[in-house]
């Protein structure tokens, strides 16, 4: 699924990252806590969140996320958007709440991060599918 498909399915507005609309997304997760997001990286991932702070952009940048969707119609401030633009991460805004947004994308075939990694286990080996490739 491409970023532009996510945009269509969630009836979302693109706030930055026009040049990234054709990036291929392979997984998504819904998180309102940063360390929860960081706990399990999967390649080519998108995050759905209601957390509109500069820190979510920073975390997304650390993880090489391919997109951020702000749910419930939450709008980021210009400084947050500028950070995302600099990091090259597309930002979408949808009026659907988190649960509905996740459901719509899941129904359209976009899967999650699979099982929670076991304590002490390798976060990259927690499930099959696309491995966190370089």
């Amino acid at each position: 699924m491409r970023v532009r498909d996510v945009m269509r399915i969630l009836d979302a507005t693109l706030l930055t990252g026009e040049d990234k609309l054709d990036q291929e997304i392979e997984a998504a997760c819904g998180c309102d806590l940063i360390s929860d997001l960081l706990a399990f990286t999967k390649a080519r991932m998108l995050v759905l969140t209601g957390l509109v702070t500069p820190q979510i952009i920073r975390a997304a940048e650390m993880m090489d996320l391919l997109g951020i969707v702000f749910v419930r119609g939450k709008k980021p401030t210009p400084d947050i958007l500028a950070m995302a633009a600099e990091a090259g991460i597309p930002v979408l805004c949808t009026s659907y709440p988190l649960y509905e947004s996740a459901g719509l994308l899941f129904e359209a075939g976009l899967r999650g991060r699979c099982a929670w990694p076991q304590a002490g286990g390798d976060p990259h080996d927690a499930c099959g599918g696309t491995r966190d490739a370089p």
Partner: protein, 143 residues
């Protein structure tokens, strides 16, 4: 190569800049994306712990072709019970910190999980020191 970044407690504006700088440097040095990502994530968690829980500190990173060694040293209240702090879900973060998206109690477990070596020492009333090593895979072993 040595990278040193000061980190200031409660400075949420600059928080994350040290980790972001590390990630950029690693990519410029030609370190593969997955390794750079692991290093960036553990550095980010360590940096945020200084911002949230300590007064001030330094994030220093020693980069060689074989390994990335990350040291997060702070002056702060210290951790009275490290075993407890290492448990998933344990957090003393106050409400206003949780509203910013922190306080899942997963930072230290993430650091341990993503690094190849992890050591933590703390003295109550003095500060905390976390040392982590990420091994850099040799070019030939990259799939």
């Amino acid at each position: 190569m040595l990278l040193e970044c000061p980190v200031t407690g409660e400075d949420f504006q600059a928080a994350g800049e040290a980790a972001a700088r590390l990630k950029r440097t690693l990519r410029q040095l030609g370190i593969d994306a997955a390794t750079a990502r692991r290093a960036a994530i553990v550095a980010y968690e360590a940096e945020m712990n200084i911002v949230i829980h300590a007064f001030r500190g330094v994030l220093s990173v020693d980069i060689s072709p074989e390994r990335i060694e990350i040291l997060a040293d702070d002056e702060g209240p210290g951790i009275p019970d490290i075993a407890l702090a290492m448990q998933e879900g344990y957090s003393t973060a106050p409400e206003y910190i949780r509203e910013m998206g922190f306080g899942a109690g997963l930072g230290l477990p993430n650091m341990r999980r993503y690094s190849d070596e992890f050591h933590i020492e703390s003295t109550v009333g003095r500060g905390t020191s976390v040392r982590m090593v990420i091994n850099v895979p040799s070019k030939g072993s990259l799939a």
